[in-house]
């Protein structure tokens, strides 16, 4: 049949590319992870070996704190920007979303300009109190970098939801005497929850896998992606690097999958 054959032709390039450069390499990665000195146990090295476990815990905590902080800031900013028309709104939105295109290395460098040895914060505190405050290379600097690249993407997601929220609902709650916090709890946040799940999961997954920012800041704390990199290039331990990669990939994929099914359920339940 003509249309059958045509459908096959349409999907052929995609099938070849995906099999050759995605499915096959991921299978090879899995094989490599199981071929280390520990064999199958190599898959669990991320939790069984203290050094890797500590790194996993630091990365998880950093990613969770980043997600919570990003959601808080983005939810406030989205509500402030939604349904408010003012001069320069388009420009402001553009500026808030430009960092989406910055690679992690650039974000790391921006944090150095902000809180590094020649940084803005340091030179201000130096002229005020005489001490040069440097935080770019600490865990706090890393957190600020993660916040920098997380806020724009989460803000876009929540802003889209906030603009769909009917202002008359908030108005009604207010005229019935509800306090601002009660309006948030009972009216606004329930409506934004699906977007917050999706945005939050995206933020968490990106933070877990972020490499460039940590690479530029060269922090003493080893986040998981840095660990994969050093394990592969410096220790030339491919099977260990592969095992950690698979664990990390599984965590980020699961976070996104859970949030997606959750958000879908909320939408269909509403």
């Amino acid at each position: 049949m003509d249309s059958r054959r045509f459908d096959l032709l349409l999907i052929l390039p995609l099938a070849i590319f995906t099999l050759a450069f995605l499915v096959l390499p991921l299978a090879r990665l899995t094989l490599e992870a199981g071929s280390g000195p520990q064999g199958i146990a190599g898959f669990f090295v991320i939790v069984t070996e203290a050094r890797f476990r500590n790194s996993l815990i630091v990365t998880l905590i950093l990613s969770i704190i980043t997600t919570v902080a990003t959601l808080a800031v983005a939810t406030v900013a989205a509500q402030t920007l939604a349904n408010r028309r003012f001069f320069g709104r388009g420009l402001l939105l553009s500026m808030l979303t430009f960092p989406l295109a910055f690679p992690g290395v650039v974000v790391g460098f921006l944090i150095i300009l902000f809180g590094g040895r020649l940084g803005l914060v340091g030179s201000v505190t130096k002229s005020l109190t005489g001490t040069n405050v440097v935080f770019a290379y600490s865990l706090f600097g890393l957190f600020l970098g993660y916040l920098y690249f997380s806020v724009p993407r989460v803000l876009l997601t929540i802003l889209a939801a906030a603009e769909k929220l009917d202002p008359s609902l908030v108005e009604a709650a207010r005229s019935l005497g509800a306090s601002p916090l009660a309006i948030q709890r009972d009216v606004v946040l329930p409506a934004l929850f699906p977007a917050m799940y999706t945005g939050g999961a995206l933020c968490f997954a990106t933070a877990m896998g972020a490499f460039g920012t940590a690479f530029t800041l060269a922090t003493t704390v080893d986040v998981i992606p840095m660990l994969i990199y050093t394990e592969f290039t410096l220790a030339t331990n491919a099977s260990m690097a592969a095992a950690i990669s698979i664990a990390l990939g599984f965590i980020t994929w699961a976070a996104l999958a859970i949030a997606r099914s959750r958000a879908m359920r909320d939408v269909s339940g509403a």
Binding site: L22, V73, V76, L110, Y148
Partner: protein, 264 residues
């Protein structure tokens, strides 16, 4: 009035956020154009750092452009027909394929790069070529192109268009080229701009996959951040911004246009 303090707090937080995102970028632009960053404005401004960056790193700029265009060509050839095929087919199979193709968005770039190197590291000439980096970029950007095209296909009645053309005796491939493609053009344009922007900024995959002969702009940036003085690093960042910001403006213009079209 209680209403006012929450509104004021919201405006203050949004303003602080804007400053947090914007000030470091302005600092970087300023540092790239100043004679001596440590001495401040009094030292004056210069384009010398930008010239030095061009002398040292112009090859990475050209390579990034070439990689981005090759990535775009491949995502168009693979992604657009693929997206149409998945929408035509529908059902569980199409969802499963979409899930697999979207994996590179969920799986960290480092893991994908490692998988590619383990699989094709032995294939000397492919491993050494720019094409290796391009394949990595296609892996990462393909889901964005496909999603953008699928989103448009979902809003148009492609089945009626296709069947209408078929009843007039047009063969399947002509219907795809002459009827379907023009109708999904907004999705293709939006997807293309996204692919170009992502490719020019891609670091995680490229850092692992590049060789000394296939350095892209972000790889050069990482190199400059680690080994060059602050002014050169900043001037290099400025070159990156000049390349990527027009693309971002394009993305937003296209998004605004399609929004208007669907609203009217």
């Amino acid at each position: 009035m209680r209403r006012q303090w929450t509104t004021t707090a919201g405006i203050v937080i949004t303003a602080l956020l804007t400053l947090f995102l914007l000030v470091p970028v302005l600092l970087s632009v300023y540092a790239g154009l100043t004679v001596n960053y440590a001495r401040g404005i009094s030292a004056g401004f210069t384009l010398d750092w930008v010239k030095q960056v061009w002398a040292l790193y112009s090859d990475t700029v050209w390579r990034s452009l070439v990689v981005a265009l090759m990535t775009l060509a491949l995502t168009l050839l693979i992604g657009v027909p693929g997206a149409y095929a998945l929408v035509r087919r529908g059902g569980r199979f199409a969802r499963a394929v979409e899930e697999i193709v979207t994996l590179p968005v969920a799986v960290p770039g480092l893991a994908l790069a490692l998988a590619m190197i383990l699989t094709y590291g032995g294939a000397g000439s492919f491993r050494q070529s720019t094409l290796f980096v391009v394949v990595g970029h296609v892996l990462f950007t393909l889901p964005f192109m496909m999603r953008s095209v699928i989103a448009v296909l979902d809003t148009i009645d492609w089945r009626t268009l296709d069947e209408g053309a078929a009843s007039l005796g047009s063969p399947a491939w002509r219907r795809f080229l002459d009827v379907i493609l023009p109708n999904v053009r907004p999705g293709i344009v939006a997807g293309s701009l996204t692919v170009l922007t992502l490719s020019i900024g891609e670091f995680n995959l490229t850092w692992m996959m590049h060789t000394p002969m296939t350095k892209t702009l972000p790889v050069g940036l990482a190199d400059a951040y680690a080994s060059m003085r602050l002014e050169i690093a900043s001037a290099y960042t400025l070159v990156f911004l000049v390349m990527v910001i027009p693309l971002l403006i394009g993305v937003q213009l296209v998004a605004g246009l399609t929004e208007k079209r669907t609203a009217s």
